[in-house]
């Protein structure tokens, strides 16, 4: 049985269909999860896609944090389930306190839409273990609120623990220490601003580097484990 990767659709999500397609191209089975679902439908991992959940009202990701599905995602993440947040999904993970820091307006105030070159800084995560250490990848970036910020102590801790996962080679938004993506301490929760799900086919993407994300989570998948909440 192929691995089941849940893809959450919040009201205002945009990239859920691309994420599902990328998951399928990567050899896993995409499973649609609705923001109002309080069950995980036997998925092995969860992908929080980009978009403008709840209209980005108040702060990006702030309202999504209180959705039914995030309650069960948070609980399963604490038991080791791999969770990936891309763009708005990264913002949701920070707002949900599954990842430290926050994402704020790009320093230049403009929406930035272009391929982002990054270095894979950590391969010790559920979502990057199939990349070569230090590999250069190109994923499309498209965001207005992608500047990663955290206090100096948190940034130092992220660096020391190897929790900086992706670093920009041409910082597009003013992110502190050129951080494009980070992981939690356990390495099962990863968030990044650029979009690996848009880099899976030569026809439509700047690279096919994004397939490594799905390959990694498949490699990280334990033989038999369910993250469904005991009923």
């Amino acid at each position: 049985m192929s691995a089941r990767i849940g893809i959450v659709t919040f009201p205002g999500s945009l990239d859920d269909r691309d994420a599902a397609r990328a998951v399928r191209l990567g050899g896993a089975e995409p499973v649609a999860l609705w923001h109002d679902d309080a069950v995980l439908k036997s998925v092995d991992a969860v992908f929080l896609p980009g978009g403008f959940s709840y209209g980005d009202y108040l702060r990006c990701g702030a309202i999504a944090r209180f959705s039914e599905v995030m309650g069960v995602v948070r609980e399963a993440a604490s038991r080791g389930m791999p969770v990936l947040g891309v763009c708005n999904g990264f913002q949701v993970l920070c707002e949900s306190h599954l990842l430290p820091g926050a994402l704020v307006r790009n320093a230049h105030l403009r929406y930035r839409n272009r391929p982002a070159r990054m270095r894979v800084e950590s391969v010790d995560t559920a979502w990057t273990n199939e990349y070569a250490p230090g590999a250069e990848v190109v994923f499309p970036a498209k965001h207005g609120e992608g500047r990663y910020v955290a206090d100096e102590a948190t940034l130092d801790r992220l660096e020391a623990n190897g929790q900086v996962v992706f670093r920009y080679l041409d910082n597009p938004n003013g992110a502190m220490r050129d951080i494009a993506g980070i992981a939690n301490e356990a390495g099962n929760v990863v968030g990044l601003m650029p979009h690996p799900e848009h880099a899976v086919e030569a026809l439509t993407g700047p690279s096919t580097d994004g397939l490594g994300i799905v390959a990694s989570v498949l490699a990280a998948r334990p033989a038999s484990r369910t993250f469904d909440q005991p009923v």
Binding site: L58, R59, A62, F66, C94, E95, P100, G101, A102, V104, R105, N106, A107, H108, L109, V149, A150, D151, G174
Partner: protein, 94 residues
């Protein structure tokens, strides 16, 4: 009825590009003596305390203030990047 105001401001160490943009526009108004502009949010919350007797209005205000602290801390502000203040709105002034 209890009305509460929550003011949310970016912490001083967090760059406020919106404030910077406004600052940059001021010379075009002929204003050249402004050092800094910071932009925040003001949230007004009105509690539904129908049925609370008027002689207990102080209690209602205290409860509203307490709940507003929770609302501000958990939702309205992100403590990683923002500070907030909570105050009861003066009814006479409103």
């Amino acid at each position: 009825m209890a009305r509460v105001v929550v003011d949310v401001m970016l912490k001083s160490e967090i760059l406020d590009p919106q404030g910077e943009a406004v600052l940059g526009a001021l010379p075009r108004l002929g204003v050249n003596d402004v050092k800094s502009v910071r932009i925040g949010k003001r949230v007004e919350i009105e509690f539904d305390d129908e049925g609370v007797e008027s002689e207990h209005s102080d209690d209602a205000a205290a409860k509203a203030l307490e709940q507003s602290q929770i609302i501000a801390d958990q939702l309205l502000a992100n403590p990683v990047i923002e500070n907030f203040t909570v105050s009861v709105l003066d009814e006479d002034a409103a």
